[in-house]
């Protein structure tokens, strides 16, 4: 297992290097640079001064020199300066990264809390009215765009009923570390989490439902019944264990998808996370931040894939990694 992880990490290095070249070139290919973004609409900015600054910051060097500088700093943990926020990218990311990871985790857990029971009900009693209701919900959730649904949630529960805050990740007047701070944080998480989770369940439900319907007819389930195993145990011990495999295997991807995919939710709930920062940075051509963010989500996908492999090798005896 350890050698497997080490090997995967070694393979990650060229993958990430390649990714970094592509990201860097794409970021450079964007029209304008950090200065056009930073001085957008600033009447004081004059062209001569900006050209001077460009020379000073090295924007006029050939791309490979700029890339070399960026990469060497990056591996040392220095992701550069944000030209817009005038602070280090690392300190800019710090809080937002933990916010996004927190939101992704709660969303993922909520998705599984909704999807697994519903998938089991739909699969075990397929073609019943309950199954039909669940499948209808699936169609609804797949067809609803997340930005519309999140806006509706925001309007109903945040604005109209005022049950939950409509923005930010915590009430900034409360002291960090107290119980109230924790409650406030949780309270701020409810709407973004539910908005993402309620319409994010379709894949898991459908996968689980179909796999259960499939597994129900397998011969080893007949064997179990012929042994006199009670019906409930036939499901828990034989059918579900097999049907949950693909779900478990997908978990690694799911979390990385959520981390890189909560752009809409974070923007709508003005939740200070990576997604929101990403959008802002693209708009202001803050390319050090953009590159850092894309690198992080790229690495997250690679790590997620590895996680999926490891989870699968633990739950499925047919897959052994060494």
């Amino acid at each position: 297992m350890l050698t497997f992880i080490l090997r995967r990490i070694l393979v990650m290095i060229p993958q990430l290097l390649l990714l970094s070249v592509i990201i860097f070139l794409l970021a450079k290919a964007m029209p304008g640079d950090a200065l056009t973004g930073a001085f957008q609409g600033n009447p004081e900015a004059n062209a001569e001064h900006m050209e001077e600054l460009r020379e000073k910051l090295g924007f006029n060097d050939p791309w490979y020199e700029q890339y070399g500088r960026w990469v060497t700093n990056f591996v040392q943990g220095d992701m550069g300066m944000s030209y817009v926020h005038k602070q280090k990218v690392t300190s800019l990311l710090g809080n937002r990264l933990s916010n996004t990871v927190l939101l992704s985790l709660t969303t993922m857990i909520t998705i599984y809390l909704i999807a697994i029971p519903l998938g089991i009900i739909a699969g075990r009693w397929n073609n019943s009215w309950a199954d039909k209701a669940i499948v209808t919900y699936n169609y609804f959730s797949i067809a609803t765009p997340v930005f519309i649904f999140a806006l509706i949630m925001l309007f109903i529960f945040g604005f109209y009923f005022s049950w939950f805050p409509t923005g930010r990740s915590v009430d900034i007047t409360i002291q960090n570390g107290t119980w109230d701070y924790f409650v406030s944080k949780a309270n701020h998480l409810v709407l973004p989490t539910l908005s993402g989770a309620i319409i994010g369940t379709a894949g898991t439900i459908q996968y689980l439902r179909n796999d259960i319907i499939d597994t129900k007819l397998k011969d080893f389930v007949k064997t179990a019944r012929a042994k006199g195993v009670p019906e409930g145990r036939v499901y828990t011990r034989h059918i579900l264990r097999n049907s949950l495999l693909p779900i478990a295997a997908f978990m690694g991807y799911e979390i990385t998808l959520l981390i890189s995919g909560s752009v809409f939710i974070e923007s709508i709930f003005s939740y200070p996370g990576l997604g929101q920062l990403f959008i802002q940075s693209i708009q202001t051509r803050d390319f050090t931040v953009v590159s850092a963010l894309v690198m992080i989500s790229g690495a997250a996908v690679i790590i997620g894939t590895m996680l999926s492999d490891i989870i699968l090798s633990i739950v499925d005896p047919r897959i052994r990694i060494d």
């Binding site: 397998k218 011969d219 080893f220 007949k222 064997t223 179990a224 019944r225 012929a226 042994k227 006199g228 195993v229 009670p230 019906e231 011990r237 034989h238 264990r241 097999n242 495999l245 739950v315 499925d316 005896p317 047919r318």
Partner: protein, 341 residues
């Protein structure tokens, strides 16, 4: 002949197809005794497996209608609740499945799959269950039982897995064993090994065995009595020697002449015309085999065919056997003879 273990009376198993029920097993009555192997033979689709699954209650209750009686240990199994049925199957009744590649749960160890029925039916300690399981593995001819105990199905070969499937069926010493084509999915050398094992086990046990197969070689080797099924009905029932020496029903005779033999022969292998009709297309009036022997005149068939006892213990359905000849034969000149090996 020992005591009756299982008595099936007028069993009718019907499946719902587009809202209508069609009988796949139609009015079958059979008795299985202690220490007896009853073979049920027939082509694919004549209701052999449907019969086996009806006995042990494995049909999907939502689309299946069961009528008649399956009397086992003084109860009609068809009237039992699932919970009560679960007390019987796995304990007094074991089932061996056709395909060992799919009959075992890929995620559980061999040990835990054999132990599982003991957990529900026998009051044994953990250590005793393990001991019993290892013993069973040895009995079904697995030599390195300690290793196999903690292995997973995918680590074993097909033949080994079928031995494990047999061990599962034997876990609680059943008095009735249902073997649904236990050798069909295996290759020929392994088939022979599994047949030998089953014969050996049968000699040790006193249980009755229902052996579903379409392999007449297996029947000749294992069975005491044979029931030939066609289109959901038993068309002939006899002791194994009688069946091979004096097959009467046109279907039985056609089946026997369809076996390729290694003797120098007079020409092409016999082929039964047509196919077994599907449930919806089956004509349930008159002799069901009549459409496949169209050269036999209608008046030879009974209007409402019943089983006739032509000799003690030898039953034949319909009267069409009396003047029957295979299409390739001259009328009634030659009768195929097949002796028990």
């Amino acid at each position: 002949m020992g005591n009756t273990v299982l008595e099936i009376e007028n069993l009718r198993t019907s499946f719902s197809i587009k809202g209508k029920y069609y009988a796949a097993v139609d009015d079958v009555s059979l008795k299985i005794h202690e220490n007896e192997v009853l073979a049920i033979v027939g082509e694919s689709g004549c209701g052999k497996s449907a019969l086996a699954l009806s006995i042990i209650g494995l049909h999907d209750a939502r689309v299946t209608k069961l009528e008649g009686q399956v009397n086992f240990k003084g109860q009609n199994l068809l009237n039992l609740s699932r919970a009560r049925l679960n007390k019987i199957r796995g304990k007094d009744m074991g089932m061996i499945f056709q395909d060992p590649m799919t009959a075992l749960n890929p995620l559980s160890t061999i040990g835990s799959q054999i132990t599982e029925p003991m957990k529900y039916h026998l009051k044994l300690s953990q250590a005793d269950m393990k001991k019993r399981t290892l013993e069973l593995l040895r009995r079904v001819g697995i030599k390195n039982e300690n290793r196999v105990y903690s292995q997973y199905p995918h680590e074993l070969s097909g033949g080994m897995r079928q031995r494990v499937v047999i061990a599962v069926a034997l876990a609680c010493d059943p008095i009735l064993l249902i073997a649904d084509e236990p050798t069909t999915a295996l290759d020929v050398t392994i088939q022979a090994q599994i047949m030998d094992l089953m014969k050996e086990l049968q000699a040790q046990m006193k249980s009755g065995i229902v052996l579903i197969t379409h392999d007449l070689g297996v029947v000749a080797e294992m069975a005491d009595r044979v029931a030939v099924m066609y289109a959901g009905q038993i068309v002939e029932l006899a002791g194994v020697n009688e069946m091979f020496k004096n097959p009467l029903h046109p279907y039985t005779r056609s089946l026997l002449s369809s076996i390729p033999s290694n003797m120098p022969d007079k020409g092409r292998l016999h082929v039964i015309q047509g196919i077994v009709p599907s449930l919806q297309n089956l004509d349930r009036e008159g002799c069901r085999f009549a459409p496949r022997i169209p050269w036999i005149p209608q008046e030879d068939h009974e209007k409402d065919p019943v089983l006739h006892e032509v000799e003690p213990g030898h039953f034949v359905r319909c009267t069409c056997y009396k003047n029957f000849h295979l299409q390739t034969e001259e009328s009634g000149v030659e009768k195929h003879v097949f002796t028990k090996s």
